[in-house]
């Protein structure tokens, strides 16, 4: 069905062009507002090819979704289950990786929010299947802190705070910039600063 292509050379196949375009259009406007003809135009291909290669708009979205989730779930899995690194190191690694990723793809949070709105359960499923947080060494380290009495609250708060401090600025960015609260260049600087600040703040929160 699809052309044979080695992974080494640049994926310039129609299939890959469609996926790339779909990623851009889906993350840019969300599933419902993203039209198949928008994706085709973005990819410079005929509309029918989207269905030829991916059967339906929904299937295409699912594939994009699956791949995006998989990349980020696998990455965080490696970090939070490293038994040789301290809590501080883990937090720093998570902040570093996800901030970098968000700088490269600032619209990604909207993509995930949209997936939540649309009620698709891929992301929760992948998290629960892998017992991502529940079985993590990261959680064990937090629970140890809890026993020492240094953290008088549910460990999930740390997860939520960490991700919130990383992700939220990117969600708020258009508002901050358009409202004149921050200039585009200022925003970049602040995000760069936050790479060091967020881990510091988080360790303060757990009295470390």
């Amino acid at each position: 069905m699809t052309r044979n292509n080695t992974n080494t050379d640049i994926d310039n196949t129609t299939e890959e062009k469609i996926k790339k375009a779909a990623r851009a259009v889906f993350t840019g406007k969300g599933y419902a507002a993203a039209k198949v003809r928008d994706i085709a135009a973005e990819a410079n291909i005929n509309v029918a090819l989207v269905n030829y290669y991916f059967r339906s708009k929904e299937k295409l979205f699912e594939i994009i979704m699956d791949e995006t989730i998989k990349i980020h779930v696998e990455k965080i899995q490696n970090v939070i289950n490293d038994e040789s690194s301290t809590l501080t190191t883990k937090v720093e690694a998570i902040v570093e990786h996800y901030t970098g990723m968000l700088i490269a793809n600032p619209e990604l949070p909207y993509f995930f929010v949209n997936e939540i709105i649309s009620g698709s359960n891929k992301l929760p499923k992948m998290i629960s299947e892998n017992k991502l947080f529940k079985n993590s060494y990261f959680l064990k380290q937090l629970q140890a802190l809890q026993k020492e009495g240094k953290m008088p609250f549910h460990p999930v708060n740390i997860l939520v705070n960490l991700l919130g401090l990383i992700v939220f600025p990117f969600l708020a960015r258009p508002i901050l910039v358009k409202s004149g609260t921050l200039q585009a260049e200022e925003f970049k600087l602040i995000i760069a600063e936050r790479k060091k600040l967020v881990p510091m703040w988080l360790m303060q929160i757990i009295n470390q």
Copy 2:
């Protein structure tokens, strides 16, 4: 055009029924996925009435948007410009108010995210017109702290952290619950706890 109705009695007019339904459907699935017929069904009225009362889907959305933004901008304006309250009191008031508001309307963050995605500039415009943050007494208090050397970073970080810590759990809720990381009842408890925790954490961050 519209029926005369005093503000005192319950707004049971067709106009108000449509607005209520529209609020639910727009926040539930976002602008593009929300169909005029969905709104009409939710309101138990004929489709044509939506256009009869609001001229178009877009105008209806704008009205809902304007009202929603106005309510929350005005509320926060009162809190952050109170010259008689301390920073701690302000933070506590903001957390208390917005957490309460989010408990009552947990889908509201999706509504705002959607407005950002759709590229409408109403929210930024209202913020910049009112110079909400820039002219606030809250900012002056933060800048005073900065001069004392207690806060070695841009004050906007505090705004972002505060809102992020309040809002992000609600954005992540479906994932947390569906993935089995948290049960629905646990989530409620944690949110309640966070009403006290978030102000505490935030004051820790600014070394107060």
